[in-house]
Amino acid sequence: MTTAAVSILGVHAVGMTFEGVGGRHPALEDISFDIGARDLVAIVGESGCGKTTLLRIMAGLQRPTAGEVRLAGVPIVRPEPQVCLVFQHYAATLLPWRNALDNVLFGLRARGVEGGQLRQSALALLDRMGLAADAQRFPWELSGGMQQRVALARALIRRPRVLLLDEPFNAVDERTRASLQELLLSIHREERCSIVLVTHDLDEVLHLSQRIVVLAGRPARLRQVIDGAAGLSREALRTHLSVVRGRP
C-alpha cells in the first residue's frame, strides 16, 4: 500500500464481484491506495478493467463486496456528496430541461447559503469556465467541450474534497482537450480539492498527474503506484505500463 502524506480518501483492500446470469464475475481484487490532500492522481489500466467501477465505489454509488473506502477516516457507506464524480457520459448527466446555470445549481438546497449568493457563485464559476455568455443556454445548444465545462462547474460549486473524473476528455477534439486540461490544472491550483482521473491517454497522464495508479489483470489488481510522475518521460511511462501489461 502506498500512503500519501495526509490521506483524504483511502481505498482499503477493495474488491468487487458481480453476481450475474453466468455466475460470479470478479471485477476488482484487493485494491489499496490513498489519495492525499490536493493530490492529482491518474488511474490507468486497460479498457474494461473496472476503472469506472472503482470510481463508483470511491463515490459511494456502489458498495464494494470486499474492503472499504474511507473519507478522512470515515467509511463511505452511501453516495458521498463530498466525493464528486463527473461521469464519462457527462452529456447524459446534464438536465436537458434546464439551462447551463440551473444545471450548475441542480439539487443544491440552501444549506445555509442564500439563493442569490449561490447563483452568484454559479455565475462566477461559469465565467471562469469561459461560459459567461452561455449561462442561459440549454445543454443541447452547447458543444461537447462546453457541456464538459458545465458538468465540471456543477461539481465544483459543491466544493468537493475529492473530484473524480471518468475519462473526462475522451469525446472532445484535440484543441478542446488541450484547453480543458489547462482548465483542470488551474482548478487544481486554485481549489482545495484532490483530483482523480481515469484516462487512456499517456500524454494526458504525464501532463496532468503527480501520481499514477496502475491497474492490470482480470480481475483488476493494483500493479503499481508511480509517485513523482511529473518527472517521468513518455518512454519511461510506456515501459512501466508495458511491463505491467506483460509486453516487452
Binding site: G60, L61, C84, L85, H89, A92, L95, P96, W140
Partner: protein
C-alpha cells in the same frame, strides 16, 4: 406555399362533401330520413346548444371523464414510476398487467354494473380502467429510458429518493409519459360515450342514443358533430399543454447538433 395550398384544398374537400350531402338529401337522392340535410343537422345542433341540453350533457360527460382520467394518471404515473425504477416491482405486476391489458375495456362493464350499479361510479371506474394502462406502460418505458448516469449524478449529489424521482426521473421521462396521456385522453372520450350508451340517463352518449331511438335523426347527427368537435378541441388543448411543458424537448429535437 405548397403546404398552404394542400391545407386549403383539404378544407375545400370537407365543404364539398357537406354540399354533396346537402344536395343529395334535398333532391332525395339519399333518403332524407336517414340523411337529413346538413342545414337541418346544423339547426338541431344550434338549438341543443342554445337551450342548454348540449352544455349540460357535455359537462356531465367530461366531468366524469376528467375525474377518471386524473385518477388513472395519478395511479398510472405513480405505479409506472415504481415499476420503472424497480425490477422486482416490475416483475411483480407484469403478469397481471399483461393479462388485463389486452382485455377490451367494455368487456368489464357487466362486472362494473354488477358491483357498482349504473351510476357515475361505474362509468368513472370503466373510463379510469381503460385510461390507466396506456399511462402505466408509457411511464414504465419512460422511466426505464432515463440515463442511469443522470440518476447516479443525483444520488452522488446527495439527493434523496423522492427528490431524485420528482426532480430528475419523472421530468426526464415526461416526453414518453405524455405519449401515454395523449392516448388515454382519446380513450377517455371513447369510453365516456360507450358507458353512457350502455347504461345511464344523462351525458352526451345517452343523448346521442336517445335521439336515435326516438327518431330525431338530425339531433343524432348534431350530437355526433358536437362529439367530433369536443375530441378535436381536447386534442388541441393537450397539444397546447404539451408544447408548454415539453418546450425543451421539442426545441432539442429541432436544434441542429452544435
Amino acid at each position: 406555399m405548397r403546404g398552404f395550398e394542400g391545407r386549403a384544398l383539404g378544407y375545400a374537400l370537407v365543404v364539398g362533401l357537406l354540399l354533396l350531402w346537402e344536395l343529395a338529401s334535398v333532391t332525395r337522392l339519399l333518403n332524407p330520413f336517414y340523411f337529413p340535410p346538413v342545414h337541418q343537422v346544423g339547426r338541431s345542433l344550434f338549438e341543443a346548444a342554445l337551450d342548454g341540453r348540449l352544455a349540460t350533457a357535455l359537462l356531465t360527460s367530461l366531468g366524469r371523464g376528467f375525474i377518471a382520467f386524473t385518477v388513472a394518471a395519478v395511479l398510472g404515473v405513480g405505479l409506472g414510476a415504481l415499476a420503472g425504477r424497480h425490477l422486482f416491482f416490475r416483475q411483480l405486476i407484469d403478469p397481471i398487467v399483461e393479462l388485463l391489458r389486452p382485455l377490451p375495456s367494455p368487456a368489464i362493464i357487466p362486472v362494473a354494473i354488477l358491483l357498482l350499479g349504473i351510476d357515475s361510479s361505474m362509468k368513472v371506474f370503466i373510463i379510469g380502467w381503460a385510461c390507466f394502462f396506456p399511462i402505466l406502460l408509457n411511464t414504465i418505458d419512460g422511466v426505464r429510458s432515463v440515463p442511469p448516469a443522470l440518476v447516479d449524478t443525483a444520488r452522488n449529489f446527495g439527493l434523496r429518493y423522492a427528490e431524485t424521482l420528482f426532480t430528475v426521473v419523472l421530468p426526464a421521462a415526461t416526453p414518453v409519459i405524455f405519449t401515454g396521456l395523449r392516448i388515454s385522453l382519446a380513450v377517455m372520450l371513447i369510453l365516456t360515450v360507450v358507458t353512457e350508451m350502455v347504461a345511464g340517463s344523462n351525458g352526451i352518449g345517452f343523448l346521442l342514443l336517445e335521439a336515435e331511438r326516438t327518431f330525431r335523426i338530425a339531433d343524432m347527427y348534431g350530437f355526433i358533430v358536437a362529439l367530433a368537435l369536443v375530441g378535436y378541441g381536447l386534442n388541441r388543448l393537450f397539444l397546447l399543454v404539451d408544447r408548454r411543458v415539453l418546450a425543451w424537448h421539442h426545441a432539442m429535437h429541432k436544434a441542429p447538433t452544435p
